[in-house]
Every structure is written in C-alpha cells, then in structure tokens.
C-alpha cells in the first residue's frame, strides 16, 4: 500500500505533469523543426504564430459557445480549431509572400532569415495584442478532469491522489498522432519527399520539376496547423496569455534542438527530455520517501538534488550534456 502511495505521488507530481508538458513542448517543437527542416531557418516567430492561432481559435470558440454548440466532455475549442488553423495558415502564407519569399529568391543565408523571423515575431506580437489584448483568456470548458485527485482517492482508497486532466490526455494523444502523421508524411508521401528534396538542394529540386512555391506553401500550412494545435492545447491546459507564448519559445527551441533539428521524432523526444529534466532533477523526494522508508531513517530535509530555482538551468545543463555526446541531437538533426 505504501509502495502504491509512493508510486502515485510520483505519478501525480512528476510523471503526469511531465508527460503533458513534454507533449506541449513537443507539439511546438514539431513546428519549429518542420520549418527548420524544410525552409532551413530557426523561426523565432513560431511562439507568436502559436499565440495568433490560439487567439483565432478563442474567437471561434466564443462564437460556438454563444451559438450554444459544445463538445461534450471535451473542450469546445477543439471544434474551433479548424477555423484557427485556416486563418493562421492564411496569415503565414501572406507573411511568406510578403516577407520570406524575397530572401528565398535571394538565397539569403539562414541567419538573415532568423533575423527576419525576429522582425515577423515583433509584428505578430503586436497584432495579437492589438486584437485580443494582453490579458489572460480562459477558454477551457467541458470536463476539466478525466480523473481528479479526490475521485482517485475515493476510488482506490489510497491516501494519495492522482489527477489526470482532460487536456493532458488530449495533448498527449494529439502529440503522438501528429508526430506519427508528420513522420509518415515526410518519409512516405510524394509531397513529403519533394519537401525534403527541396530542403536538401533547392536547385536540384527545381531540376527535378518540383514546384518550390508549392513546397513552401504546404510547409507553411502544416506549420500553421502545428502552431495552432500546440497553442490551443497549451492554452486549454494552462491559459492563454500572449507573453507566455513568447516565453514558450525558449523551451520549444531547446526541445527541437536536443531532439535533432529537422526530425519530427526528435522533436517529441526533445520535448520529453526538456520537460522531464525540469520536473525530475529538482524534484524533492521527501514525500515519496516517507512512504517507502521506515520512520527511523527518514531524512528531514527535502531530499532535493537542486532547488527549483535552478530548474531551467538544470534542463539546459542536461541539454548541453546530451549535445556533448550527440552533437546534432538525439536523432541526428540537420545543421545549416
């Protein structure tokens, strides 16, 4: 029983949150990694694209809710998602046409594109704030929990509870489906292969009759979809606030890079590496130990390797460590 309690404590505070956060990062990292893989630059505007997509979805959700449409135990926002994706896709396509295309034609080096994406980031940043403002928006509805801590205790009779939020479940499942799809799409489909060919050698892609404009469009549309999905799921689980989405950029990049840039599987792995290293290394084992150790040798300290002050630092240290042994990430990423 005590052992079970210890396990539940661990699951509840480390495993489940880590899994959900990891999946959220992974979804964001997928978009970053896709742009890097095909268009060959680190897109700093991705965080704000996520914010934009989420914003549109929020408006759509409000509309649906006003019309009395809901989605059962699942959040209504999932129904609004297609709208968000569509509008975001239009926005990024317009951005590409207005901004990025020029540099592509000029064959600008990747760092120029990175700086350009910073400019785009600032602009999107402003657009989102002009529309929806800076405040936090809560748009989650439906059932909050698959199982709440209290219910779990009542069900199992354990002293410790285990909570699994609906959004956590949805996020993890979505992340897995999306990565599988993306992997399949890039590796097996004609369009996917042409996208990889384009990223590998643009001139030669041209000589093979691949339409570069189409490749770029498809890439942006998928990226917009990924950004919107990631943003909405994150917003449902935590909350939507433009500034946080900007802050998300850093761990998302960390995830994409540690996994190996350009590799969808890597993005997933990277997301979990970052999330779990944040949560586990600074975890205080005291509570777990109270269940498994006898009273007499129970330490009174928190049994914590590092204080949470350093959780970011720790996750970065782990990232660096991984890179030292695998210089292009867990899954042999690209580098431009």
């Amino acid at each position: 029983m005590d052992f079970l309690n210890a396990l539940v404590v661990f699951l509840n505070f480390v495993f489940v949150p880590g899994l959900a956060y990891g999946a959220q990062l992974a979804l964001g990292a997928l978009g970053v990694t896709l742009i890097y893989g095909i268009l060959r630059f680190s897109n700093f505007a991705h965080g704000d694209t996520m914010a934009f997509g989420t914003m549109v979805t929020i408006y759509a959700t409000w509309g649906l809710q006003a019309a009395g449409i809901t989605f059962g135990i699942l959040p209504t926002a999932l129904l609004g998602l297609p709208v968000g994706i569509a509008v975001t896709a239009l926005l990024v396509l317009a951005t590409d046409w207005l901004v990025y295309k020029f540099y592509r034609k000029k064959k600008a080096v990747p760092t120029i594109l990175v700086m350009v994406s910073l400019g785009v980031m600032f602009v999107m940043n402003g657009i989102v704030r002009l529309f929806i403002g800076v405040e936090e928006q809560n748009f989650a509805d439906g059932e909050r929990f698959f199982i709440s801590a209290g219910d779990f205790k009542a069900m199992t009779g354990l002293t410790e509870g285990l909570a699994i939020k609906t959004t956590q479940g949805v996020t993890v499942v979505t992340a897995l489906i999306v990565v599988a799809w993306l992997f399949w799409f890039l590796q097996k489909t004609r369009t996917g292969k042409s996208m990889r060919a384009f990223s590998d050698n643009e001139d030669l892609a041209l000589l093979s009759g691949i339409n570069p404009d189409r490749v770029v469009q498809v890439t942006w549309i998928i990226a917009a979809a990924l950004a919107t999905i990631a943003g909405v799921l994150y917003g449902l689980d935590k909350s939507f606030k433009p500034f946080t989405y900007f802050q998300l950029l850093l761990p998302i990049f960390a995830a994409a890079i540690v996994g190996g840039l350009g590799n969808p599987i890597g993005a997933i792995a990277g997301g979990f590496v970052i999330a779990f290293s944040e949560v586990t290394v600074t975890y205080a084992w005291k509570k777990v130990l109270t269940y498994v150790l006898p009273e007499s040798i129970m330490p009174d300290s928190l049994v914590q390797l590092m204080t949470t002050d350093y959780k970011f630092a720790v996750s970065f240290s782990i990232l660096i460590l991984v890179l030292l042994f695998m210089p292009t990430g867990l899954f042999k990423g690209k580098s431009v």
């Binding site: 890097y36 000029k106 700086m115 600032f122 602009v123 940043n125 657009i127 204080t307 660096i320 210089p327």
Partner: protein, 432 residues
C-alpha cells in the same frame, strides 16, 4: 566607401533629429545605449563574422560583466565576508577541483565500465563535499542583514577597474564553455550557449550571497571621471562655468555627464575596432575566414581549428563582458532580473546582421541604428497609433486601439526591421 559614410551620416541624422524634436538628453542617452550595443555587437561579430560561431550566450557574458562591477566596486560588507567568505571560497575551490579531477580521469582512463563509474562517483562525492562546506557558509552570509546586505560585498575599488575585470570574468567563462561546447555547430552551439547564459543569470538571481540575487544591488559608484549631476549642480565652479556659457546649470550637468560617458564609451569602442580591424586584415583574419568557410579543409591545411575557435570565442566574449561591465557601471545597479535573451542576445544579433556580418563598421552602424530604433519606438509606436486613430470616429474600437497603443512599440520595431532587411538583405554594410 562613400555609401558607408552616407549610412553613418544618416544614422547620425536620426540622433540629431531626436535631439531637435525630442530632447538632446534623450538623444544622448540613446547614443550611449547605441555605443554599448555597438561594442557588444563587435564582440559578436568577431565570433560570428570572423569564425562562424553562433554564440547566443551574449546575455550571460553581459551579466558577468555586471557582476564584475559589483565584485570590484560595490561597498564592502565586512560582516558578510567574515560570516562565511572563507567557507564560500573553500566550497568553490572544492567544486572546481572535483570537476578538474573528473575531467582528468575521463581523459586519462581507458574507455570502459571503470571510467563510467569512477567519473560520476568523483563528481557526486565532490558535489556532496561542496554542498557540505558551501551551504552553511552561504546561510551565514545571507543571514547578515538580508534586507540591505546579505552578501559578501565588493572590494570598494574604482568602477573603471571593473571593466577589464568584466572582460576577464567573461573570458574565463568563455574558456570553460569553449572547452566543453565548441565542438557543436550552428544552432546546436547556439542553444548550448543560450543555455549557459540562462544558467549564469539563474546563478545571479538565486545566489544571494554573491550579489544579493533578485534583491538587486543599487548605488554602485560611477566610473572615473564621470561626476554625479547632483554634485555638479551643487558645485559653485560648475554653476559659474555653465552660466558663463549661457547654459542652465541643471540641464548642462546632465549633458556634461552624458558627454563624458560618450567619450569613455567612444574610446573603448574605437580601441575595440582598432584591434578587430587590424586582426581582421591580417593573416590571422584570413585564417579565421578560412576556418569559417570550411573547417575540414582548414584543418587539412594545418590550422588548429579547435584552438582558434576557442581563442576567438574568448576574445569576443571578453569584449561583450567589458561592455556588460560598462553598462552596469553606467546604470549604477545590478538587477539580474533585467537580463533577458531578447534584449541582450537577440537584439545584439539583429544589430550584427543588419549592420552586415563580418564587417566591424557594420556592427557599429547596426548597433547605433537598432539601438536608436529599439528605444525610439517607445514613443514612435504609440504616436503612430495616435495618428491612425485620430481619423477614426469615437467608439469602442478606437478606445481599444488607444489602449493597445503601447504594443505598437514592438510592432513598429518589427516593421522597420523588416524594411531595413528588405533593402539590405546582406546587411547595410556587407562584408565585401
């Protein structure tokens, strides 16, 4: 060449216009920021433009420069030092030694199980001893008057001295980072250095014994020879001088202080440029460009790529560290919470790229231009919004837009940045 002069003249004009239409004080304080940024941009350009190292740890080196100012010139806290200074030093030494031992063991021992066990064992044991010595000392130091001290204090030396020390601190950190992470390429190096910078700032934020952490250190002394405006305003001599020339003493005091800073920063900037330009246009610079273009071939042509990378990484970081120290001693305070990657890393990168990577003067131009832009959009953005909304009918939309006016700041910045990059896709002064 004339094009470049024109560009500089153009940027100069921006500052003059700011002086005329806003105020000279504002123009000068933006110029100061621009000069500091230019120095940082030069540091980055040395690494990126010369050697292709994608360093995004600029924020960390800037912060280390700031720390140097605290350690060198902050008011000493003898009680704090007495309470645990020696313990802290001992702890740090133990930590460093155990890492060094682990590294040596890793290098010397043959691959295999033994090494894989021994090295972590050394590290873990070292960590335990370190914590055992270090933690009580820290607690003791932090317990000393936490509201206004709680740290080990500085040496109380002149602030100017902290500038080279800032460079040294940054160089030392760069050495450590370089030794471990320079094997990484492009974005992988970028994220690693970004991470190190985050770690450095995390340490500054959370190690209260060092520089009071998030409780900040204020009232750091000014660098020689810059006086305090309030002192000038009280000095009869100065008032005399100002009135003789027909200035209002208060206004003059501020301009004089800023001009002195401009002079100081300008001298440092020129020195850095002189050294960089000489280096760039020498066989050393040629070797660096070769390494940047093709490491494999450079190595086959007998150039020690690892060593050169380390060298240039250290030099560039030291320059950033110096600039970081200059900034902190000008602001007179160390606030770890202000170090954020957008402002201290990516903005500097924008400067380098907009200026034209690989071109020192480009970096200076980029620093001045983007520095100006970064600060001027604070008023420009909302003003633009004011223009836009002035034609609109009253209503919720207008109210909403006016509320959102501050956010025109970044939007305007973004738009102008995109425009600049559109007209000079390789930077304003491309490497030839």
């Amino acid at each position: 060449m004339s094009r470049n002069l024109l560009l500089f003249a153009g940027v100069g004009l921006l500052f003059v216009l700011t002086g005329v239409f806003q105020s000279w004080n504002l123009a000068l304080s933006i110029l100061l920021m621009g000069l500091l940024s230019s120095i940082m941009a030069l540091g980055v350009n040395i690494q990126w433009g010369y050697a292709g190292l994608f360093n995004t740890g600029i924020m960390g080196f800037t912060a280390l420069g700031g720390l140097a100012v605290v350690l060198v010139s902050a008011r000493p806290v003898p009680e704090g030092w007495a309470a645990g200074g020696s313990g802290i030093v001992a702890g740090l030494v133990i930590g460093a030694v155990s890492i060094a031992v682990a590294v040596q063991v890793w290098k010397r021992m043959p691959k295999g199980m033994g090494r894989n066990l021994l090295v972590p064992a050394i590290l873990i044991a070292g960590f335990m001893v370190y914590r055992w010595v270090f933690d009580p000392a820290v607690t003791a130091v932090e317990a000393n008057n936490p509201a206004s001290a709680g740290n080990i204090g500085g040496l109380g030396l002149p602030s100017l001295l902290a500038w080279p020390v800032g460079g040294l601190l940054a160089a030392a950190a760069a050495w450590a980072i370089g030794k471990t992470a320079l094997g990484l390429r492009s974005d992988y190096l970028a994220i690693a250095t970004l991470g190190v910078a985050e770690i450095i700032v995390a340490v500054l934020k959370n190690e209260d014994w060092l520089a009071r952490g998030v409780k900040n250190i204020i009232e750091l002394p000014r660098p020689w020879p810059v006086p305090y405006e309030t002192d000038l305003q009280k000095s009869a001599e100065f008032i005399d001088w100002a009135t003789r020339w027909g200035f209002d003493p208060q206004g003059a005091s501020m301009i004089v202080v800023k001009l002195l800073y401009v002079l100081l920063f300008g001298l440092v900037l020129l020195a850095v440029i002189w050294f960089s330009e000489r280096a760039l246009h020498s066989p050393w610079g040629r070797m660096m460009r070769a390494i940047r273009d093709n490491e494999v071939a450079a190595s086959a042509m007998g150039k020690n790529v690892t060593k050169r990378h380390l060298q240039i990484f250290i030099i560039g970081s030291a320059v950033v560290g110096i600039a970081g120290a200059m900034m902190t001693s000008m602001e007179g305070q160390l606030v770890p919470g202000t170090y954020n990657p957008l402002r201290f890393t990516f903005l500097i990168w924008v400067m380098v790229i907009v200026g034209g990577s690989g071109n020192n003067w480009g970096s200076v131009l980029g620093g001045l231009l983007i520095g100006w832009l970064w600060l001027i959009v604070e008023s420009l953005g909302p003003a633009l919004m004011g223009q836009l909304t002035s034609m609109m009918a009253e209503g919720t939309l207008k109210a909403h837009l006016i509320d959102a006016a501050p956010h025109m700041r970044l939007l305007t910045l973004g738009v102008i940045l995109l425009v600049v990059l559109r007209f000079s896709p390789r930077g304003l002064m491309p490497e030839k």
